[in-house]
Symmetry: C2
């Protein structure tokens, strides 16, 4: 098992401290497990205080031996609760604050109220948008983790091609993909940051399942096998000559890889083939035209234009008013990271961003076809990280 390299952690904290200085904050409390991991290399229960200037303090609520074996933060202190956190801060010379950052999108209300009540007069600032903008630029270490995941995904797709038969349930396909994922080292769950958002390893969507919507911010959802989960594979059996869309995700050392391929046992009809071709064309066009410096909002326009040219814009990224308003998203320690590839996301592509582009077409009652691949942004273009051929997978 590998720890996160020390220089990664140092660099991340240094970058974050520049943000704190720019935003005129005294520091920030980092408490969500993923964010703590990003800065320290451990997800053991801890409260991390990063001052704008000076060394971070990692205050550990449980299991300090494991923290010390996983993290190279220099100031690691064992505390038995939040009151002890305050006395620890005092010991380090932090007695009062003017303005402090918190992760307002994920911090539970009771903790927010605790901070407001227990730390004197202070301006509380949502630090998440800044933090997510830092996290969207990946180092070569981070890109290596995502690449390791794409190998697992490719293996899964190749194995399932041998296994898939008409009459199997969506869940049987999902089950086999889960097996491959874990056997090969997927860490065991996919992390989403959005509140109430959650995801199974794979979405296996046969025929009309592909056009069943759900709460997920995604062009497809699926029935699932219960309204309590309401997404992904269900007990529907695969039939011949229908699209079977498989969205497959894994995480290696915390980093997510995310792919979609369209399978068919037999043949797709001409319209679905055309839509799949259009998905490929969208990826090819974006790959040809995008690189560091490209305006992010322009990518969605490129995709939509291709869909229009093919006469398929009514089915692009969904087939109702509630279609997904994006054609891709960042991936990293969470599967729903910045940048979001929408017309509304401000900013340019930057070197080191890793994005999943997922042009898909949804036909009511018929299903979903399309592709999803992961790319790293370079100064000269987009380099594809996912390994599977961009074709319909025919059984």
């Amino acid at each position: 098992m590998e720890n996160v390299p020390q220089k990664e952690l140092d660099q991340r904290i240094e970058n974050f401290q520049s943000v704190l200085v720019r935003e005129n904050l005294d520091g920030a409390f980092i408490m969500q497990n993923v964010d703590v991991y990003y800065f320290t290399g451990t997800i053991q229960s801890s409260i991390l205080f990063i001052p704008a200037d000076g060394r971070p303090i990692l205050m550990v609520l449980k299991n300090i031996e494991r923290v010390e074996s996983e993290s190279n933060v220099r100031d690691i202190v064992s505390i038995n609760g939040r009151s002890a956190m305050l006395s620890t801060l005092h010991r380090y010379g932090y007695h009062q604050f003017d303005a402090v950052g918190l992760e307002m999108d994920v911090l539970p209300a009771y903790l927010y109220r605790w901070f407001v009540e227990n730390i004197g007069e202070c301006r509380w600032v949502d630090i998440t948008p800044d933090l997510l903008r830092l996290r969207m630029i990946k180092t070569s270490y981070e890109i290596e983790q995502i690449k390791a995941g794409t190998k697992i995904l490719h293996k899964g797709y190749m194995e399932i091609k041998e296994v898939m038969q008409a009459g199997m349930t969506e869940l049987e396909i999902d089950a086999h993909l889960s097996l491959v994922a874990r056997r090969e080292g997927h860490m065991g769950l996919l992390r989403m940051r959005g509140w109430n958002q959650e995801m199974t390893y794979a979405h296996v969507l046969a025929g009309e399942s592909g056009s069943v919507k759900t709460f997920l911010d995604s062009p497809h959802g699926g029935t699932g096998n219960t309204p309590a989960m309401a997404q992904g594979a269900g007990f529907r059996r695969l039939e011949k000559n229908e699209p079977v869309g498989i969205d497959y995700g894994v995480a290696v050392n915390g980093y997510h890889s995310d792919q979609f391929r369209t399978f068919v046992i037999g043949e797709l009809n001409g319209k679905l083939e055309k839509a799949h071709d259009c998905s490929r064309k969208i990826l090819e066009t974006i790959q040809r035209e995008a690189k560091a410096g490209t305006n992010i909002s322009s990518l969605f326009a490129i995709a939509e234009e291709e869909a229009k040219t093919a006469g398929l814009d009514g089915f692009f990224m969904g087939c109702t008013e509630e279609r997904a308003g994006f054609v891709g998203h960042g991936i990293g320690l969470e599967i729903d990271e910045y940048p979001i590839i929408t017309p509304r996301f401000n900013g340019e592509l930057k070197e080191g961003m890793v994005i999943a582009l997922e042009p898909k077409f949804v036909f009511p009652g018929e299903g979903v076809v399309g592709l999803e691949d992961d790319y790293v942004v370079t100064s000269t273009g987009l380099e594809r990280l996912t390994l599977t051929a961009q074709e319909v997978m025919r059984i």
Copy 2:
């Protein structure tokens, strides 16, 4: 796919409204997906307002057709954001509030701040403890779902008994258990309420992996295969004559079932056998002595007493100062529900509670042995829901 029966939902809302009246609240906003599902039968993105008196209003942010097909709440209204929620409330005659409940343990700070800023002067009360105390009493419908899960768990244990061999990795065992879970209809993830708590389907802990602690509030943790997840199965290979502890969970229609069995390829040494016997004796004693009306705090004492009698109290529920302070927990729509079987939990066992009892012994460097089974509390005793024999599973 089955919807939650209408009378379940009606009863739950009625019970909750009694609580609102008792607590002198005007109503509560329910927003976490699991709680919304509990009251409405859908987890589509919605805000549920339950007044102390009158009909609940389910305000749907996305996908209202699916909500209407899953939920029988009578007042379902489509809204396009939180401002529309306010105007909807006005339309229903709710113009101001004196005191309102929120799920403070899970509601993100930004939403809490939105309520405080957008609804006039009002007392905001954490409604979660009351809600969890309602949810801990299960109906026969709910118990049926948990029973369906225990069948999957039993199937998984029986299949893995045929598959397990020395030399396999923990992850290969986990992979096969994941396959069985999904194939048989596990909904695809385990839900934990506690912030930053998360769990893979199975913990497969061979030898010393069983004594590796983690952030999880559990007697065992495991290495996992990365510090980014830091729990459960890793790449360690199974050896002969060592304990292989397998904690296995699934969820059917949202309801969790949770079990632990100790496997061995070959033989356990006398001390480990004795500890396993003691785990069984603890379950037998609790099952003999506990029923509706039994003080919950007494169950832990029974368990600890048995461990002491066997001279094993130094290893009971962990082997360090940070041992787990409980011997069981409620299960339901989340795997970490009330009641918690600790010396500190106030209250009596009540008919319809479903609890997972998990007496385990952890030996540093050697591993974990023990049992976990699910029970429903009746007026005459505890009825076991899990199906697997309470023995060491010998290969």
